[in-house]
Assembly symmetry: C2
Homo-oligomer: 328 residues x 2
């Protein structure tokens, strides 16, 4: 019998989860839950229902794992504990500083309800967390470096669009090649924020807007741009649509360490991602961990887990025997 999945929230990420489920024959999409009018929603899976989020409790016995596809700012802090009290869940909560609190809240709800909740499942946090833990445990004397991009940062794109005179905009985060090269050499450089990433903005201005002022407002925006070398390009709405409508992303997680009695040998471990679609890739990670959550739940495990707490074999549809034969 297939693992029965629910999708809670049907934006870019929810649609990504739906298409990812189609690539996993041991999974079945049972229902999509939406805050919109269910009648207004078109989904791809003919056999799945579209329901209001208010009706999710009635589906308790028909869903093995609920995949939460809301945002980390306001959705998941509320939804994850609430849904963990009814379902096994997976979320992609990515506000790093609040992970301990989010973990505790989901853990309490899941333990009380006898469910499993996997949080912060995606690529950072998620796959990059795995890259960091494995590499730092193997090379305890060393430095870890994380670079993001080249890719679209939604937060920075939103920030641009809030600048007066800006009609639309997209921001790319770009790792500095020379910094990457220095890290890969095994040199363990100290790198400032400015030395690691640059920011490139494509901006559609409102007619008659003061372009110099927009550029200066962006470049000097605290937290978002002031600490970076930022480039601003003014382009037309058509150009933005044509060349910048994708949501690519990626990045590099590098550990540089030493071994030997005199620390004479250098080692570099690098994990990198090059993604055409950030939400679809994140969806792939969520779906693999939904399989793990289902299995943990079958083993009567309860409570909150991160990717660090889950053995890799749980992600695979193959048996231990098959894995040892073909993959180890």
């Amino acid at each position: 019998m297939a693992i029965r999945i629910g999708i809670y929230g049907y934006g870019n990420l929810g649609r990504g989860v739906e298409s990812s489920i189609m690539q996993n024959p041991d999974m079945e999409l049972v229902a999509v839950f939406t805050r919109r009018d269910p009648a207004s929603l078109q989904i791809q899976t003919k056999t799945a229902k579209v329901l209001s989020v208010n009706d999710c409790e009635s589906m308790k016995d028909q869903i093995d794992v609920m995949i939460l596809c809301g945002g980390s700012a306001t959705d998941l802090p509320v939804q994850s504990p609430k849904l963990a009290s009814m379902f096994n869940i997976v979320d992609s909560f990515d506000t790093h500083a609040n992970i301990p609190t989010h973990f505790d809240e989901v853990d309490a709800a899941a333990k009380a309800a006898g469910t499993v909740g996997a949080i912060s499942v995606g690529w950072d946090p998620g796959m990059f967390s795995l890259a960091r833990i494995y590499s730092s445990c193997i090379l305890p004397e060393g430095e870890s470096y994380t670079f993001w991009g080249k890719g679209v940062s939604q937060g920075h794109s939103d920030a641009i669009r809030r600048v007066p005179g800006v009609k639309n905009g997209k921001q790319y985060t770009i790792p500095v090649e020379s910094a990457l090269a220095a890290v890969r050499s095994g040199a363990q450089p100290k790198l400032s924020t400015r030395e690691k990433h640059t920011r490139e903005c494509f901006v559609v201005a409102e007619e008659g807007a003061d372009l110099a002022k927009i550029e200066s407002d962006i470049k000097n925006m605290p937290n978002y741009f002031a600490d970076y070398d930022t480039t601003v390009h003014f382009i037309s709405e058509e150009e933005l649509e044509k060349n910048h409508s994708g949501i690519p992303h990626g990045g590099f997680c590098i550990r540089s360490g030493v071994s030997g009695l005199n620390k004479e040998n250098k080692h570099v471990i690098e994990y990198s991602l090059k993604l055409d679609s950030n939400p679809e890739f994140t969806a792939g990670v969520l779906v693999a961990y939904a399989r793990a959550v289902y299995r943990l739940s079958q083993e009567k495990v309860t409570g909150c887990k991160t990717v660090l707490d889950i053995a890799p074999a749980y992600l695979s549809p193959l048996s231990g025997e098959e894995l040892r034969k073909t993959l180890v």
Copy 2:
């Protein structure tokens, strides 16, 4: 109290394990076991004993985890099950085709004795097995590629040294750059053995040997060289010593996959290693998994495990709380 470690076999790998333990303050080397005369062995750790392999059983209660540092051809198939009947063990068994059998033998011994055995811990199998399972579960529609090098292959170096007229030699396995580039592009090429790697040999010939014959013998050697583009350089013993005495290695594990309703988005996951010392890096992996084995044993787990069966958090000296705060 520190985790008490024994090292079984004191070659390159055993020495690497000893220096790795020095980088992990929660671990303590208790004893090195050797087949040689213990009195003839100089080790670096003043507080540790050097004992004969025949005396290991007497140390049963003083060692939490035994790290096996023998070879996969003849040592580990015998030693791992035997020692798992007395100790928790970790080994780096790397004969891929025999992993299922080795697993079953260690599993039976460990379950009977109430111990834990982690096998095939290193970088391939080991870290590359992890790269393969995570990436293939996240991107189920795709292809996995493993490239090795640039690095010294002990097996191929040994094969060269068996050729008549050869006094000494070293072989480097080198990934073909254009093949790497094709895989990274997301193209999912079909690559033959010859298209993936080249082999470069540095050979010291005996005086008066027929160099043309040696070169032909090497290049046409079945399994080892015949399927590859192989280069043979004749050099002096001094040159070999000066430029080729290191044991560097590394490689690339790449998954190229697609997502989206029409499979329109490409994703590339790459895990790579660049290692100055193959045995010292492997030692770092063994020691991190010794920590995991110790903890599993504390939790009353028994039997054989591979890296796929062990949750990453077990490798770290940090608590779950610390990990969520600093690393996830």
